[in-house]
């Protein structure tokens, strides 16, 4: 298990700028050491180039006191304290709910409750999955239970009222669907023995209750599932009045309504809008999923922007997380003359692997300057999408897709036991629903060197080759590209992608397209790129959102009607489904994957076209290309892309080479299949291959695509003297040359 972890407040910085570094010593180390380093190669495997870093002198290098920091995981809505809450005597609470884990412990739906003070009120789904009302007067607690478990993933109207004079409680649990043999409808009238006291100065919470003392924001009892149209009134409403309150605040009830929150408003934000005259607006905490179908969705509208009132639900999860919120342990001010590159603060509380952590980040050139003719575009959207992913062992399909045993190292063992470090967009939540958000404001344990050769680690193979070649380069990131557009790319003769540039927002794709239309050159040195359509959160930095829609190679599938992004209102899913398959941008697009062994390419007639002569200088016409490498033993492997004119490969594109002889473990991706049929593996299906493609773009620009994630793992073979390095270098030199292609 890992003994030290950390993160920075920023992913992308410039020389002279400052980062805050947050650290937690998980096994109780009293001190830790920090060292700034420029990362060259992360591959410490016996068959790889070896781990390489350059220590960088910095005032922040040194020893620090260790401590353990905790993460408050789980989403909720917080309505700040109000005198309206403090002075409640009688009350009514109501909402629509769609519980996803009934029976998995007591879960709070709506609360004005202090767990340590035992005061207030809480509408809960009790341990048995049935509705209950919890009351406390500071000395005693009393709970009124319906005792009828709700059915998971079904809509209910739930409500409770309390009259202080009579101490009478009414509880309602009404399934919205009529079905035979459904015992989950229940109502109850009871008289309780106490009059609740409200916790003074407390927030009104949805999907959780207060469990902290004093100023501590600690929450507990997180609800799993959807909540819609929560209401709080200052007297015991009749059932008819509750009915009237479902859709809004009728004039007759204005004097009694404390708050009536409409989750259909402000969906792209964390703001929670109160319809009542009190305007007790709240805020969503830890990124619950918005733009979720409400109880009234009928399958007629699919974009929430067209009928927000049908998307008035929020899906809460007890493992949602935005910002770990740790206290900084130290600030790191970067030298003014620091070279652009990939860097890390190496944290250590001992010598063992588990006692070393890397807080990785990306240093851009100074503002307004390009310090090299090329830029490496770090796939930070992909790194965030995969941040702390569990699917590599939690998904029952993992081993059969890997074609090899699952191998858990200290990072995986740690994450397996620590849901508080949050989910990736590959994971499902504890309730089985897909994880739509991922944030970088937490320790990301799988974006580091000396880890698996995947994404970040694989991309360092490209950095290692650039360093070995003596090629000057700048580093820029996906997040920069989203915020700055084509201006970020414009100063460079060529842009190099990483091994797996999989996730893009509209702004990012538009920027690359515009760059290529203005004479820019792109080297796409990976596979499965430009695949998923995401949004960056409009106000919360470092957060991406995705909905895994109706096709694609997925680890979860969004619910019907929930394919549109809450952050922007755009259709998510594959870019291919938005009419922009990767082939249209880079000539090739994802078609298959497998993870056991990699293979090699053979040249095709297109490679002998004079337009492509520069690519193959020094490469024999019959050579196998890339039948070596530290990723599966070949340059064509893991996830593979192919050219397809019908999906947008430019008509003049040259298919230079294709890979062959992939294994049975490789299979065609679902979006390539009209229907399921036998014969889709690497032995039988000709679509299981990587295509290497070159084409010119307007104004002398060009694209070179290799169509394989494994490619960079072959660059270092034979001390960088091999045909993969030769081809990559040939293209790079030509792309740097300003002569039009």
């Amino acid at each position: 298990m890992l003994e030290i972890v950390g993160y920075a407040d920023r992913h992308s910085v410039r020389p002279g700028e400052r980062l805050k570094i947050m650290v937690s010593c998980e096994a109780g180390a009293k001190r830790f050491r920090a060292q700034l380093a420029r990362l060259i190669c992360g591959d410490d495997s016996p068959i790889g180039p070896g781990y390489k870093e350059q220590p960088i002198a910095n005032a922040a290098n040194g020893d620090y006191p260790g401590r353990r920091q905790t993460i408050e995981v789980g989403s909720s809505v917080v309505v700040p304290p109000s005198p309206h809450f403090d002075t409640l005597h009688s009350f009514s609470l109501q909402a629509f709910v769609w519980p996803t884990l009934p029976g998995r412990g007591r879960q709070t739906i709506l609360s004005l409750w202090s767990e340590p003070g035992r005061t207030g009120l809480a509408l809960v789904m009790d341990e048995d999955g049935g509705l209950a009302l919890l009351l406390g007067d500071g000395k005693h607690e009393e709970i009124v239970r319906l005792g009828a478990p709700m059915i998971g993933r079904e809509w209910y109207f739930v409500a409770a009222s309390f009259d202080a004079d009579s101490r009478r409680v009414e509880l309602y649990q009404e399934p919205l669907a009529r079905r035979a043999r459904d015992g989950s409808a229940a109502l109850k009238q009871a008289t309780v023995n106490l009059t609740p006291k409200m916790p003074q100065g407390a927030s009104f919470l949805m999907a959780a209750h207060g469990a902290g003392e004093g100023d501590s924001p600690l929450m507990a009892g997180h609800f799993n599932g959807k909540i819609e149209a929560p209401r709080l009134a200052s007297r015991a409403l009749t059932r008819a009045e509750m009915e009237a309150l479902k859709q809004g605040v009728p004039a007759a009830l204005e004097g009694s309504v404390v708050g009536a929150w409409d989750f259909a408003r402000d969906i792209p934000t964390d703001r929670i809008h109160d319809l009542s005259a009190n305007r007790l607006d709240g805020a969503a905490v830890n990124l619950p999923t918005r733009a979720m179908k409400g109880h009234n969705w009928q399958g007629e509208v699919f974009a929430w922007t067209q009928a927000p009132e049908q998307y008035a639900a929020i899906h809460f999860h007890d493992d949602d997380l935005y910002d770990a919120g740790w206290q900084p342990d130290f600030d790191l001010t970067l030298p003014d003359d620091l070279k652009s590159g990939i860097y890390a603060v190496r944290l250590s509380c001992g010598e063992r692997h588990e006692q070393q952590a890397f807080v990785t980040f990306f240093v851009r050139p100074p503002k307004g300057q390009a310090t090299a003719p090329i830029a490496f575009l770090a796939s930070t959207a992909t790194y965030i999408a995969y941040a702390n992913s569990h699917h590599g062992w939690n998904d029952p399909l993992s081993e059969i897709c890997y074609g090899a045993l699952i191998d858990l190292g200290p990072t995986e063992m740690f994450l397996d036991q620590r849901p508080d470090f949050g989910r990736s967009t590959y994971d499902i939540h504890a309730d089985g629903s897909g994880s739509c958000f991922s944030s970088r404001l937490r320790p990301i344990l799988n974006s580091r060197p000396q880890h698996r050769i995947w994404n970040f680690g694989a991309d360092l193979h490209i950095i290692d080759w650039l360093e070995a070649s003596g090629q000057a380069y700048d580093v820029i990131t996906d997040e920069d590209l989203h915020h700055e557009g084509v201006a970020l790319l414009a100063p460079y003769r060529a842009i190099l992608t990483g091994s797996h540039p999989e996730y893009h927002s509209r702004v990012m794709l538009d920027a690359i397209e515009a760059y290529l239309g203005r004479g820019g050159r792109l080297m796409y040195l990976g596979g499965n790129g430009f695949y998923w359509r995401i949004a960056w959160h409009p106000s919360k930095l470092g957060v991406i959102e995705i909905r895994r829609g109706e096709n694609g190679t997925r680890t979860w599938i969004a619910e019907p009607g929930e394919y549109y992004l809450a952050c922007t209102g755009e259709l998510s899913g594959l870019w291919r489904n938005s009419g922009l398959a990767p082939q249209a941008l880079v000539g090739v697009g994802y078609a298959s994957e497998g993870f056991d062994v990699s293979s090699y390419y053979r040249r095709l007639p297109g490679s002998f076209d004079p337009r492509a002569a520069f690519v193959f200088e020094g490469v024999d016409k019959n050579e196998r290309i890339g039948d070596f490498g530290s990723v599966g033993g070949g340059a064509a492997g893991l996830e593979l892309d192919i050219a397809d004119r019908l999906l947008g490969t430019p008509p003049h594109a040259l298919v230079l080479a294709s890979s062959e002889r992939h294994s049975n473990v490789y299979v065609t991706t679902p979006e390539e299949l009209m229907s399921a049929y036998p014969g889709i593996d690497g032995i039988e299906d000709p679509k299981v291959r990587a295509d290497m493609v070159f084409f010119e773009t307007p104004d002398g620009g060009g694209v070179f695509s290799v169509g394989s994630i494994a490619w960079p793992g072959s660059l270092a073979h034979n001390h960088y003297d091999n045909n993969i390095a030769r081809i990559t270098g040939n293209v790079l030199r030509r792309f740097i040359d300003p002569k039009p292609l």
Binding site: D44, S45, P46, H353, H390, W393, N394, P396, E399, I400, G403, A404, L405, I406, D407, L408, G409, P410, M413, D416, Q417, P419, Q450, D596, V597, R661, H662, S663, N664, D681, G682, I683
Partner: protein, 101 residues
């Protein structure tokens, strides 16, 4: 569901000779049966020394459940582990131990 024929020792030999990569169709069916299904009880490797040592474990019933160690198995390469787990699964699925040579 595909049932592994315990008489097809030839498939075990094929796997032992090349645990990763292109396999015959019949061996792939054996492997799919061994690797498919739910995670509860799945054999996995726990790396105890980076790039050098692995031990055998089995997954619990639910995500996050502790990995149950399988004593007596320490590996120094992943391919060595593949063969040992193949034999364990062969016995569990056919009821017969797998003995070659």
């Amino acid at each position: 569901m595909y049932e592994i024929d315990p008489e097809r020792i030839d498939l075990a030999r094929e796997f032992r000779a090349q645990p990763l990569g292109r396999h015959s169709g019949e061996l792939q069916r054996v492997l799919n049966r061994m690797r498919g299904g739910p995670n509860a009880g799945r054999y996995i490797l726990v790396c105890t020394e980076r790039h050098k040592e692995w031990r055998l474990g089995r997954m619990g019933a639910r995500p996050g459940d502790p990995i149950e160690p399988v004593p007596g198995h320490v590996f120094h390469s992943s391919l060595e582990a593949e063969w040992v787990v193949f034999k364990l699964r062969w016995q569990e699925l056919t009821g017969r131990p797998l003995t070659l040579d």
